[in-house]
């Protein structure tokens, strides 16, 4: 190692060294990061750092302001608070108790949370009138789970609850930066609307984001009817314009395309991250994982996924074959595939991957009607059109692919719609601009000067939950009610309508979009009446009141899914994209804070981004080879320039990125987001132009000589051949079912110095399995756990210090070459060891073993020696090094789970298998005079998991799901040679490679 270090330094041939090191390895060799791999300067720097570094921490105390600023909505730090005298409060009983409300027992209400306009069905847990946790609605099509109490969800849906309690939400209407009232707004609006009556609303413009809500759409139509010269514009920067344009190109009309991954045996993704991004990602991830589930003796077939992608994604991580190509090259590959299938698409360029493409085409042809091709939203319309043609040619339509009418109320091209609006505004023809949500001053490409256009509009009104870059420039900024505070409705990806019902009175003086539109229409109704009366008009009948109740209870209106629609190919596939040599910029929405709308959400800011494991920042992602070529390393700040714009971004090297691609995530660099999101990261919209929204060729990069420290939760180092993520191919596994067990060692039952440590076989014994074949590393478990267990956000400085608090983390490993490694994700909660090393070393007995095999933590008893964490081989324990919990922000207190202690400073904490849920289920069973059944308890991570990778239950019950899974040959424990006897075990990951490609490497 040291000799290589010297080589690396002397010659600067970092990459060569890495490759040399990789080539010398075989078998299960994994590496964690490039610094470790390469023995880079940073690595060497550490050697010399220990002593001189100390003084630099002097700024720690001085950086307090920054610290507070960062913690914001999710935490605040405090000094000694233990001595605070509790305020006097009176406890009085209800005079008239609300129906069904039993103190200590949560209620669940079905509702829907929309992202990008599309609804996700949810069940919201409410404690004494306070929503505290969002679960999926298992009977909703966007996140179905048969026979389960809760359905899965994604990170954004989970984190919505924190947005509700965000202390930076706008609390009263704001008029020209001064607090005002709704009464004044109504007065002012009436004057404006009266002016509009004179010219049929010629000066009125309404700007919304994507609208699927039938009620809102009807209101907008009413408005347009009343003011025929008014115009409705939509803008949301999510790349769905290309989807619409692709359908238009292929079929001559805009259609919605739905997929059934459950029926697809062969899947080709052309730059699509379908398991993590999109309105049906939770459903698709689940269906896809179901197609990969292997059960010994029951099911030994699995689907096969080919991914061609320009940015390593969650979907790429679960691929059997992953081909990294520049975004501009994907058009060529798509054409080559189409051509090989007999579609007249012009000859495509396979970029030297003929073997790959030929094998793929052969495989697709062999699975006609049970294959599927899906394209990433941001890919060009012609690639979408080609995929439609391929699916039609393969006979997939009607089987794995379904077309329906558009789900959006008005499927317009958002970019064109915005351009139209901006030119009208600049021309001075707009007298009143009403924006319902959105942030076009911030989230538009740099060549669209919305800010200046806005100045030319006499009256501007913005409805939004919090002040943003746009609303602060408007005459009126109106506080919008949160989805959990207001009545509404929305359609899911397939058109299914859900009624959105409020769980709590608006925390502040907020109104919904429906109510503001009603005001514009001179209609004084409130949200409930607006929504209910709309549906009464639509589906009124004798049974309406009953139906309404049923819809609210079920969380959806049955039979509202859109019917399949037959379409005809036009044979138009656009002109081939010429992929130029040189650097190309790939723009993507940030995987955790989206287009920037979640910037003030501490959970999402601190959530390690898939594959890079970065938090709190965006970066210029470069492949290691490209970084080497440019002479930059991690944390170096570079100027990325394209189409005449440039931004400075820190470099982060990402194996598996195609060469000559700079991936830049949008959504950072907010200036008016709130105390958490302000000034975090770099605004990459400044680099984006409307003619090259998602991939921009002919980019250039120059060094600035500066560095910027990025906070990454995975540290830099090798895996050293430890059998943590165990993998094999399906074929090998079928022939050698014990291959997974042979990758590690489990001591015998009697290998114990002490007797009687093992948990009794009577009663319950909780255990968990995590199926690595299903997990795609979507992070939903981490956020769900954070929400369920009141886990604080610690801020970037603390993450840099290695003090993040997540109880369940996703470990990410690579295997193979730097250009195209295999990516593995491994969720790691507490292993709940039967021989727990943490328990014996605690001097005060704060962590002890329960009769049911849980490794309990008594926070009150903990004195914080941290010995348990040192002795934990899995490093799943988390310590409150400072006072991380926010004791001061009143609104955040409302959102906490009352069944979980909020930990103070100096206390160790860790995953408890959601012990509060176990207790609640036990009590319910006992009160009901019944035994606890398998499935009565769902841990937060298990419930949320889109791929059903996590199974929890009683391992003393031989018929429980978890017991059955633990009998699988794929079942193994982590570092079992230490005789820890972990209760959490893993099911090894299997791949199903195409032998024709595998042979060619």
């Amino acid at each position: 190692m040291s000799s290589m270090t010297r080589t690396a330094h002397k010659d600067g041939l970092e990459l060569a060294v890495i490759q040399e090191r990789l080539s010398g390895k075989d078998g299960q060799d994994y590496w964690r990061s490039l610094n470790e791999l390469a023995d880079t300067e940073e690595f060497q720097e550490y050697v010399h750092r220990e002593f001189p570094e100390g003084a630099s921490e002097l700024s720690d105390g001085l950086g307090r302001r920054k610290f507070i600023q960062l913690m914001g909505a999710s935490l605040a730090f405090a000094g000694l608070t233990a001595c605070t005298r509790q305020p006097k409060e009176l406890i009085v009983p209800y005079v008239r108790a609300p129906e069904l409300m039993v103190p200590g027992k949560p209620l669940y209400f079905a509702s829907a949370i929309s992202q990008g306009g599309f609804a996700r069905g949810v069940l919201v847990e409410s404690h004494m009138g306070r929503p505290t946790k969002i679960e999926g609605n298992p009977s909703h099509p966007s996140n179905p789970r048969e026979g389960a109490k809760f359905g899965p969800t994604d990170i954004f849906t989970q984190a919505t609850i924190l947005d509700l309690y965000d202390p930076d939400r706008t609390q009263v209407p704001i008029w020209n930066a001064k607090p005002s009232t709704w009464t004044r707004f109504r007065g002012s609006l009436a004057t404006e609307m009266a002016k509009l009556d004179l010219d049929q609303g010629a000066g009125l413009r309404l700007l919304t984001e994507t609208v699927t809500s039938p009620t809102l759409a009807a209101q907008i139509q009413d408005l347009l009817k009343k003011y025929p010269k008014a115009m409705w514009h939509q803008y949301e920067p999510n790349g769905r314009d290309n989807v619409r344009a692709g359908a238009q190109m292929a079929f001559g009309e805009v259609v919605e395309t739905q997929y059934d991954f459950g029926k697809a045996k062969r899947v080709l993704s052309l730059d699509s991250d379908f398991t993590a991004v999109g309105s049906a990602s939770v459903r698709y991830a689940g269906q896809f994982a179901e197609g990969r589930r292997i059960e010994d003796g029951q099911k030994n077939e699995m689907n096969r996924l080919y991914v061609v992608e320009s940015v390593p994604s969650n979907t790429g991580a679960v691929a059997d074959h992953r081909l990294p190509l520049k975004g501009s090259q994907i058009d060529g590959v798509a054409r080559a595939i189409a051509q090989a299938l007999g579609i007249n698409a012009g000859g495509g360029n396979t970029y030297g991957h003929d073997v790959w493409v030929n094998a793929l085409v052969k495989d697709l042809k062999a699975h006609q009607g049970e294959s599927l091709v899906i394209v990433g939203d941001h890919q060009s319309p012609s690639v979408h059109a080609l995929a439609h043609a391929i699916n039609h040619t393969l006979g997939n339509v009607g089987k794995t692919v379904k077309h329906t009418a558009a789900v959006e109320a008005s499927p317009v091209d958002h970019q064109a719609s915005l351009n139209g609006l901006v030119s009208d505004m600049s021309a001075g023809t707009v007298s009143l601009l009403v924006m319902v949500g959105g942030n076009p001053v911030y989230n538009t490409p740099s060549d669209i000067d919305f800010k200046n256009a806005l100045k030319k509009v006499p009256t501007t009104i913005h409805l939004g939950q919090a002040l943003n870059e746009t609303s602060q420039l408007c005459n009126w900024h109106l506080p919008e009610s949160h989805a959990l505070e207001a009545w509404s409705d929305a359609r899911a990806f397939d058109g299914t309508v859900s009624i959105v019902q409020p769980l709590i009175e608006p925390l502040y003086s907020a109104q919904s979009a429906h109510e503001v539109l009603a005001m514009m229409l001179g209609d004084g109704r409130q949200g409930y009446a607006i929504v209910k009366e709309y549906w009464q008009a639509q589906r009124g009948g004798a049974t309406f009141d009953n139906d309404w109740q049923t819809w609210l209870h079920d969380g959806l209106i049955p039979n509202t899914a859109l019917a399949a629609k037959s379409v005809r190919l036009k044979g138009n596939y656009g002109s081939p994209v010429s992929s130029l040599d040189g650097l190309e910029v790939a723009f993507r929405l940030d995987p955790t804070i989206g287009d920037g709308r979640y910037a003030n959400n501490g959970w999402l800011q601190e959530l390690p981004k898939p594959n890079t494991r970065l938090t709190w920042d965006n970066a210029a992602l470069l492949s290691p080879a490209t970084a080497e070529k440019l002479g930059v390393k991690d944390d170096d700040v570079i100027d990325v320039a394209v189409n005449g714009h440039s931004v400075a971004l820190p470099v982060w090297r990402m194996p598996g990125l195609p060469a000559d691609t700079v991936t830049v995530h949008l959504g950072y660099g907010r200036t008016v987001a709130g105390r958490v999101g302000n000034g975090v990261g770099v605004n990459a919209y400044a680099l984006q132009t409307s003619n090259a929204l998602w991939q921009a060729q002919e980019a250039s990069v120059s060094k600035t000589g500066q560095t910027y420290k990025l906070a990454c939760t995975q540290d830099h180092w090798y895996m050293e051949g430890r059998g943590l993520v165990r993998t094999g191919t399906l074929e090998d596994y079928t022939h050698h079912p014990h291959m997974i067990h042979e990758m590690g060692h489990v001591p015998g039952e009697d290998a114990n110095f002490f007797n009687g440590i093992h948990t009794s076989e009577e009663g319950h014994a909780w255990g968990m399995t995590i199926d690595l074949n299903a997990c795609n590393g979507c992070n939903a478990c981490t956020v769900a756990c954070q929400s369920e267990n009141n886990i604080p956000v610690v801020g970037k400085e603390q993450v840099l210090n290695g003090r993040e608090m997540h109880w369940i983390r996703i470990d990410r490993y690579f295997k193979g070459s730097l250009e195209n490694p295999e990516l593995y994700n491994q969720p790691v909660p507490c292993m709940q060891c039967e021989n727990a090393p943490c328990e014996v070393v605690c001097p005060v007995g704060a962590t002890t073993h329960s009769a049911e095999g849980l490794n309990d933590m008594a926070y009150n008893r903990c004195v914080g020696t941290r010995y348990c964490s040192n002795n934990c081989p899995y490093k799943v324990r988390r310590f409150n090094f400072l006072h991380y919990s926010d004791d001061h922000t009143e609104s955040l207190k409302l959102g906490r789970n009352p069944n979980v202690t909020v930990r103070g400073r100096g206390v160790m904490e860790k995953c408890t298998y959601c012990t509060q849920r176990i207790s609640a289920a036990r009590i319910t069973a006992k009160v009901g005079g019944q035994e606890l059944k398998d499935g009565d308890i769902t841990t937060a991570c298990q419930g949320v998991c889109p791929t059903n990778a996590i199974t929890f239950g009683d391992i003393n019950d031989p018929n429980s799901n978890v017991s059955k899974l633990k009998k699988q040959n794929r079942n193994y424990g982590l570092i079992t040679e230490l005789n820890t006897r972990p209760r959490t075990t893993y099911l090894a990951r299997l791949t199903n490679p195409n032998s024709e490609i595998a042979q060619h490497g």
């Binding site: 790691v828 090393p837 941290r866």
Partner: protein, 471 residues
């Protein structure tokens, strides 16, 4: 500073333990003059500096109590850092005092007499410094202060006796108590001397109280001898047990680099090694400043060097065994741990440690080095640093990369770490400076015992004290 080696009649005989021409009177005069003479400017400056350093401790602890242990460089996986390193380092330093006063007494090594007093004082102050860390390193010191003690309570909650940290509490508190008693016991006859020599009433009263009515009667001497012997008997196992138990903090854990059976003897040897280095670090300047060359002679330097060399070799053997078992165990975790120490990000610390603790002590094979106070001082400073690095290596480099590569991280010390470390050095130095000024730095009684032997070749009787009283 160095006096030329005295000419000896028999060249093979060991150097004398007492310089030539010393009588009871001169011994008492010389040693007590350090206390009775006027306060020197140098001493005041030294105390001021030590007090200043001690303010770092107050600052560091205040900041710590306000904010929490997050002010240090700790993280997950490195849950222990400088606090534990310093704790073990200070405890180790204390060991020389106990070894000298107990084991060497039992072995009738009379050369110990002139160094045992300040070695014992050093033990007391080092243990006081050490005891700051286990408490303040906890997340909640306000409860850790008593929850680790087995006090009866209405909740029926007891400490968890399987934890080595509990063993630590008992080991260290016992050690401190016994060391303090032993030290005080030895001081009683000297306090009596000082009481008798005191010119001011206030000093007479203070030393009188401290002397607890010592009159030098035969019965007193008998009890004194018996108590010394008993305490020596009690202390002797402590020398071995305390650092063994401290080593259990690590060896009971399963962290690669901690979980090793060599730890108890290796820690004890390391402690004695470190302790003697510190005795020399302090003793050599005291000898030079106060002109105590006749009491701390070349014989002492020679003997102490030999002890350091011997224990240093045991420590080196420990390092060797760690290497051996990392290979022999065939455990990939152990193997990686050792590779990581030697070639990982903390390799500088590891190789510095080898230089300080293995290579530099080899100079002690050379007699001229053993007898040269300057050279010895340099060697002892190397060992002081080396033993700190050893604990750094054990605590930090083992933890920062253990089983799960996904959790590996680096430890960077912070200002908070430095404040507390510098602060305890301040406490230690302040204690030592005050001790030198108000208590006899060398045991007068025991040194006087050496005189008749020199002159008459026979053991003295206890009439010596009558003479003391007569003065």
């Amino acid at each position: 500073m160095a006096s030329p080696a005295p000419i000896q009649e028999d060249p093979t005989a060991p150097a004398p333990v007492l310089g030539p021409g010393q009588t009871y009177t001169t011994i008492t005069q010389k040693i007590s003059s350090i206390i009775t003479s006027r306060t020197t400017v140098g001493w005041i400056v030294a105390v001021a500096l030590a007090l200043g350093l001690m303010q770092c401790f107050l600052l560091g602890v205040t900041w710590l109590l306000i904010k929490g242990v997050g002010i240090w460089g700790l993280n997950i996986p490195v849950g222990w850092g400088w606090a534990i390193i310093n704790f073990v380092w200070w405890i180790g330093i204390g060991h020389a005092g106990t070894l000298i006063s107990a084991i060497l007494l039992l072995m009738r090594q009379d050369w110990r007499n002139s160094i045992n007093r300040f070695a014992e004082a050093m033990t007391i102050f080092a243990v006081i410094c050490a005891m700051q860390f286990p408490l303040f390193h906890t997340g909640r010191p306000w409860v850790a202060a008593y929850w680790l003690l087995p006090y009866p309570n209405s909740m029926g909650v007891w400490p968890q006796f399987r934890s080595p940290l509990i063993w630590d509490v008992f080991a260290v508190s016992t050690y401190f108590t016994v060391s303090l008693l032993f030290w005080y016991l030895g001081l009683i006859p000297d306090f009596a001397t000082l009481r008798d020599k005191a010119k001011k009433k206030i000093s007479r009263m203070i030393y009188g109280v401290l002397a607890v009515g010592w009159r030098g009667s035969a019965k007193h001497w008998h009890n004194y001898e018996m108590a010394s012997l008993l305490l020596a008997g009690i202390s002797t196992p402590l020398v071995l047990s305390v650092h063994s138990i401290v080593s259990f903090d690590f060896s009971v854990g399963l962290v690669p680099g901690w979980h090793a059976t060599i730890f108890p003897p290796y820690f004890v040897a390391g402690a004695v090694f470190a302790g003697f280095a510190m005795v020399l670090t302090l003793g050599l300047p005291i000898r030079a400043i106060y002109g105590l060359h006749d009491f701390i002679t070349d014989r002492h330097l020679n003997n102490m060097s030999k002890v350091m060399l011997a224990t240093g070799l045991v420590v080196a053997y420990g390092y060797g065994m760690e290497q051996f078992f990392a290979w022999y165990s065939a455990s990939p975790y152990e193997g990686y741990m050792m590779q990581n120490r030697m070639h990982g990000p903390y390799q500088f610390e590891y190789w510095s440690l080898i230089l300080c603790n293995v290579i530099v002590p080899q100079f002690l094979w050379i007699k001229s080095v053993r007898l040269n106070p300057y050279a010895l001082f340099v060697v002892s400073m190397f060992i002081n640093v080396g033993m700190w690095l050893e604990r750094f290596m054990i605590v930090v480099t083992s933890l920062h990369r253990d089983y799960m590569p996904s959790s590996w991280d680096m430890y960077h010390s912070t200002l908070g770490d430095w404040l507390l470390y510098a602060g305890t050095i301040g406490i230690f130095l302040l204690g030592m400076f005050l001790f030198i000024r108000v208590m006899p730095v060398i045991n007068m009684v025991e040194i006087r015992l050496l005189v008749p032997r020199k002159g008459h070749g026979k053991k003295p009787d206890h009439d010596a004290s009558t003479e003391v009283s007569a003065e």
